[in-house]
Symmetry: C2
Subunit: 482 residues, 2 copies
Amino acid sequence: MEEKPKSIGITVKKEENFSEWYTEVVTKSEIADYSPVSGCIIFRPTAMGAWERMRDYFDAKIKKLGHQNAYFPLFIPERLLRKEQEHFEGFVPEVAWVTKGGNKELDEPLAIRPTSETIIYDMYKKWIRSHRDLPLLLNQWANVVRWETKAVKPFLRTKEFLWQEGHTAHATKEEAEKEVMTILDIYEKMVEHLLAIPVIKGIKTDREKFAGAVYTTCIEMLMPDGKALQGGTSHMLGTNFSEPLGIRFLGEDGEKHFVQQTSWGFSTRLLGAMVMMHGDNKGLVLPPQVAPTQVVIVPIFFGDKDTILNKCLEVGERLEAEGVRVHVDDRDNYTPGWKFNDWELKGVPLRIEIGPKDIAAGQVVAVRRDSREKTSVKDEEVGAFVKKTLEGVQAALFDRAKKFMLENIRSVSSYDEFKKVLEAKRGFIRACWCGNPECEGKVKDETGADIRLIRFSEEPCFAPCLVCGTPANKVAYFAKAY
Amino acid sequence: MEEKPKSIGITVKKEENFSEWYTEVVTKSEIADYSPVSGCIIFRPTAMGAWERMRDYFDAKIKKLGHQNAYFPLFIPERLLRKEQEHFEGFVPEVAWVTKGGNKELDEPLAIRPTSETIIYDMYKKWIRSHRDLPLLLNQWANVVRWETKAVKPFLRTKEFLWQEGHTAHATKEEAEKEVMTILDIYEKMVEHLLAIPVIKGIKTDREKFAGAVYTTCIEMLMPDGKALQGGTSHMLGTNFSEPLGIRFLGEDGEKHFVQQTSWGFSTRLLGAMVMMHGDNKGLVLPPQVAPTQVVIVPIFFGDKDTILNKCLEVGERLEAEGVRVHVDDRDNYTPGWKFNDWELKGVPLRIEIGPKDIAAGQVVAVRRDSREKTSVKDEEVGAFVKKTLEGVQAALFDRAKKFMLENIRSVSSYDEFKKVLEAKRGFIRACWCGNPECEGKVKDETGADIRLIRFSEEPCFAPCLVCGTPANKVAYFAKAY
């Protein structure tokens, strides 16, 4: 008695039911799974492999700039969380509380960190004395918890997720503001180069900024269903935390000053963006830069099995020696066709097939996951071909996504037009705005779209305010969002 | 007005008050700090830097053997934790409970993972169907919480700590048992090669094994105060979890079988062992293999400052190009003497001093942290010298620790002798034991020492049971322990 192969294909089309397609791709590709804890998911090896590559990339970049990693407690005493009022009110509705340890009720409930500003800055208060202690540039890789009550959406909406959070303290406002932008630029490059997703960069409105920030900068992506997704945020905190917490330093001028601070983070929700952006009706499509396995070699067993398997292993070793992440699928009881489907579902960027005919001809067959383009490659050229093709896949994924984004940024001059475009196509809608939060709120209430960002570059206003008709002074990018 | 330099030396001697010395070294070297959450510490950059090196070493080793990383939820529903009775009873006294999310009481309290067997194996039940799904070799890097009520001891006894936990499922008992030993061997090598701490390997008694294991293997270290410290454990779980949880696979024989499982972990408590083992009355001493900064270059400013600083930077770049982790201390307002003390306190393995006389003589001065040996090195030989010296420091630390451990393993033939040795010298005490848990318990109750392990190698009994005098069949290693 043999069980049925468990891996069956995607049954929902991406263009027909995006949301169900997403759930199917996530679970069937085995990048993640639902867990017995409602609202929490399991990051399976494909997810962790991609995440580790983002971590290593970002970690190296910030360390080169003098940042260091630390690790602060998971728990935050309620009294600390309360220190910055806006921050507390912003986060308290979604905080999980520990009230019992062992068999004893705690005297003071402990919040599980939704973000770590307050507990980290309580230490900064102790550590920072003099201008010589600045800048203080720390980062931590950690899990955080936000008590979502809406239905879980793997990577995008879960009670627990993984992230990095950077927290810096500087002597001057200028230095802190520079830090905010430096980090945002690294986010942009990471998402574009590693995940092959184009972003737009800019500043959030006051209504949408981080609870406690002076201002928030962000990168935003556009998903295939026309909804925006925030990819990372970098906050200028100014003295908003250092004043209530009392974080001061003795300046070179002999006076005490409050430190100027920043905080910034990106999370595993980027993995969700990657799945949505590149996946297709055959399953996941992983950008080579973050794919834990870049190339899978499938032997076509026919005739002398050992000869074929040895050839596969030999090609595999050669690729590995050139720095390619490769896996030889030597499983016995599956047909090549079943394996092809399985690896396509799992999103491996390039497949190499080697059978007796290929060996006779001194070649291998290579099949791209993104385009399914098939090429016969001479044995001695495999290394160069694979490296070039992986670069090609990475570039093609980015180019396609970029084209899609650019086609879906539309300028409108009236609220009517805005509503029509939003209804018909979604995407980023570029519109002029007077800067009044009431106008912004009205759009949100009436249409569900909010302002994702104002770009840094000065864009001339081409119409009066979308809502109130008074002179506008900002070009805002509206969208419905995840 | 200038503040006092904040870094002052260690005021307690290691040989006089080991415990206070430890606390001073940990906080003053800035490897860790106490936090506003009672029982939780902050891992500062030196700690995280060393931990990341251990992580990378171990991660590469297990990935080469086919293991993959995943990430499972922080929360475990109470009903799941209860699935294996012994496991539940072992952990429930030290579990932290989340009872409130946002503003709502939860229907079922959620445990914060003290270890993740039950939640991980609940998924294994779903994922494992056939012998083809085996072995399943997963690992996660995570934080865990155990609600310690005793006074916090940084790294060694804290409510939250970081660790890796591996969880594997196999088709056969033999394969699982081999896995247990493979991992234990990696632990041994990691601790000996990276942390420069010698270990002894063996098996725990039933009384001391992991709650839920068939048996537990471990590595044990001996600290300078003569107390043992467990460095890592690798558990044979057999079918103890797969039976109550119902994790079965269809074998090649067409029958359903319970999977054979293992779990294994090491944690940030190893950082505590590192501090205790190598630190001295000047502060921390970091083994070069895990030191975030291996070499610090201190300019001796005298005369033309730029020339000196440039020389320091040039030497620094040269070392960096050779793969050495180097820092040039270009701080202005500190004297060289203050900097020497500061870096000694922080444990950097090698210091290089460069002043005008050195430049004139075409040399640098190198000072080892461990022996404080001072050497003049010709400029062109700096690279080779540094690499050789770092290896030398690593080896010297290990050799000294090994000598200490070997001198502190003592064999005794009677309970009286046992008590005398324990009282006078502590260390590992080798004694014969009948195998009865009552005898083991009596020793623990009366002396505070327990059996750390029985070595794998068959050691001939040289006396009757230490306690009851009946024939012994095991040579046990007793010690007081952290």
